[in-house]
């Protein structure tokens, strides 16, 4: 039992924190990054590559640094604190996990170095209009055609899909809409014929895309997994987004407590009002419990036991979603009007927390998953 970071992990945290302090220390800069064509600043992405973050979770033999879920947790927590806009979660964590667990060595040797160098962004196109949070609810089809496949279908809310060079698409090769069998994953060149995208900003300032695939041909070698691979990668992404949420909550609570100490009403700082103090305490308690669950998620994410791993993620994501909603709402309430303005960071932290709850399934979804 040990909750300390190793020296290497501390070093990682410090270097990530330094990167973000430079780039996001002045929160107003974030707005400028968001307005760039990709919805983030490519120069910062290059810095991620330089610091080694983009190679972090990959095997050394494919040019990675062999980091595990704890290293990812460290990075994601800092991303959360700073509301960083770069597509680290979809590309490196989520798509990266699919490649790690599902791709052939040939594909890994080709793609991972590009990811590590910041030359390739990958997004996972799994959500469909009707699927809600169910990864097995797939109507997009893939049929065998010669030495490849032809993919046909529409994907929605593909996070990072606007700037992606590759898409990993879940498609049904056989079976009915919600069957667990018959689903395969394909690595699709985002510029391939038949792929069309409509990019957009999301509520939290991150970016995504609608993706249509019309008769898109993919070579057989680009088949990179099946439903269990997608679920395993989603579990790793859930652990990562839990860590991000903890970072967001930490920043938001710190802002709220600071604000309470400076904001005067009726001639005194509002931090003297016991009812407000206790509210802040409840936020803090919720966040600490959430932090425990993010640690639990990180330390369970590498498990090969899909059932145990899935249960841990359902518990963690449910707890995080509930805490995120409570902390976010109360932070806005304690800030009053200022927390609701675009120019102030608190509102953006609140929005990111709200979207984190929706990402990979909300608190109730995972509670039901656990209870099922």
């Amino acid at each position: 039992m040990d909750f300390d970071f190793t020296d290497e992990q501390r070093l990682l945290r410090d270097s990530v924190a330094k990167l973000f302090a430079n780039r996001y220390g002045d929160f107003e800069k974030r707005n400028g990054y968001a307005k760039q064509p990709d919805g983030f600043d490519r120069a910062i992405w290059t810095e991620y590559a330089e610091v080694g973050l983009l190679a972090l979770p990959f095997d050394e033999k494919h040019g990675g640094f062999g980091g595990g879920p704890v290293e990812t947790m460290i990075v994601m927590e800092e991303i959360g604190k700073n509301l960083a806009l770069e597509p680290y979660l979809p590309s490196v964590v989520f798509a990266g996990a699919i490649l790690r667990h599902g791709a052939s060595d040939a594909v890994k040797d080709e793609i991972i170095p590009k990811i590590a160098a910041g030359e390739a962004i990958i997004a996972v196109a799994h959500t469909e209009r009707q699927s809600r949070y169910d990864l097995n609810d797939v109507t997009t089809t893939a049929r065998r055609d010669g030495d490849g496949y032809v993919i046909e279908g529409d994907k929605t809310v593909v996070i990072g899909g606007n700037s992606a060079d590759y898409l990993i698409v879940s498609a049904r090769m056989s079976g009915a809409r919600r069957d667990r069998d018959g689903i395969a994953l394909f690595l699709v060149d985002a510029k391939a014929e038949g792929v069309s995208r409509r990019g957009y900003a999301m509520q939290d300032g991150l970016h995504g895309a609608e993706v249509s695939l019309a008769n898109v041909r993919v070579p057989a070698s680009r088949r990179v997994g099946n439903l269990p691979v997608l679920e395993r990668a989603a579990d790793e992404a859930i652990a990562a987004v839990c860590a991000e949420a903890v970072g967001v909550m930490e920043a938001l609570i710190a802002m709220t407590v600071d604000y309470m100490k400076t904001r005067k009403q009726f001639g005194v700082a509002i931090s003297v009002f016991q009812a407000l103090q206790h509210r802040a305490v409840d936020m803090y308690v919720a966040a600490e419990q959430a932090r425990s669950m993010a640690i639990f998620a990180a330390l369970s994410a590498a498990s090969d036991d899909a059932k145990e791993r899935g249960e841990a993620m359902a518990m963690a994501k449910s707890a995080i979603g509930k805490a995120a909603r409570f902390v976010g709402q109360q932070a806005i309430q304690l800030h009053g009007g200022i927390g609701m303005t675009m120019e102030y960071k608190a509102g953006h932290l609140f929005k990111r927390l709200t979207m984190i709850d929706l990402q990979f399934g909300d608190a109730d979804h995972h509670l039901r998953r656990l209870a099922a």
């Binding site: 959500t127 209009r129 009707q130 809600r132 949070y133 169910d134 609810d137 929605t156 809310v157 996070i159 919600r178 957009y200 900003a201 999301m202 509520q203 939290d204 995504g208 609608e210 005067k264 009403q265 009726f266 001639g267 009002f273 009812a275 407000l276 709402q329 806005i332 309430q333 009053g336 009007g337 609701m340 303005t341 675009m342 120019e343 509102g347 953006h348 609140f350 929005k351 709200t354 979207m355 929706l358 990402q359 909300d362 109730d364 039901r368």
Partner: protein
Amino acid sequence: MELSFSSEELAFRDEVRAFIRDNLPRDVQQRMIEGREIGKQDIVDWQRKLNAKGWAVPHWPRAWGGQNWSPVHEYILIDELQSAPAPQPLPFNVSMVGPVIATFGSDEQKKTFLPGTANLDIWWCQGFSEPGAGSDLAGLKTTARREGDFYVINGQKTWTTLAQYADWIFVLARTNPQAAKKQEGISFILVDMKTPGITVRPIQLIDGGHEVNEVWFDEVKVPAENLVGEENKGWDYAKFLLGNERTSIARVGVSKQRLRRVRELAAKERAGDARLLDAPWFREKLAGIEIDLKALEITQLRVLAEARKSGKHGAPDPKSSILKIKGSEIQQATTELLMDVVGPLAMPYQRSTDAEDDGNATPIGPDDAAYAAPTYFNWRKISIYGGSNEIQRNIIAKAILGF
């Protein structure tokens, strides 16, 4: 003891429904159903129709368009407008400055302002809140210096709703900075927004919309006859004004309409192999809110019945704080429910901030997906403004529980 309205009241309700059905433009109603913004002209046109019918300012004195209704009639009108949904008469005009002028203004002010205020020929905004003073309204710093026949106003107001549309603003400003108590020495002054020295700066809210503003006053010269009532008595008028909104504070009709909408949408969405509306967890959540709303509706009627009986028309009953607390909690819960309906499709930002937008871009997801998250974000304000829920608890603690 009887919960239903009298037959006369029911007949009035039917009349209101018919009027809305026959007069409210379909596109305005549809925008409101979907949670989209409506344009200035839509609001103006509708209030003029209501005013022509005699329904814009029924609670005003008869001489200025009032109807001498019971609080129940007022409630029925507001509840039907909220449920339709239809725009309500602009509160800054009809519930705030109008009653103040009608009660405390000079004859000249009444003649000058009241007809146009009722008919929304004049669009008013409210110059109360300041950056340093939120719930502590009396801590305001804006000053009005008397110079001959003028007041010269300096200072900054904030959270000024729809100031971008406004023709006039009613301002609380400090005319006697030496007053012993902070509530003293404040005056209530009417200011033409076109007066030199006024600057309106938009505040963008986290939902992306522009409904509030900062209003800056830099040596703004206002004729002294624009003072309402007595100098330094503005706080009394402000309190009168703030106690004036008791029939719609719970916004029961708004929540009823929202839950209806949620049911409609959930009937179209699928969750797994069934309709979302048939999922037990969803139905239980919905039922929980419906129960709360039913209780609130009856609590609202109880407060109304009490007001009708006591004859203290619109006088602030501390029980109104229950309406504010529960009303905001329920409204906010309905926005969370809407997010539940939409699920991951709430994530894309696809809301136009342009009220004249025709909404013809291909939407992502179901009809209301674009507005689910922005509405959730925006409606967090409901437990903050108009006296935060914490302030409401303080009121109950003091006025009812005697702490």
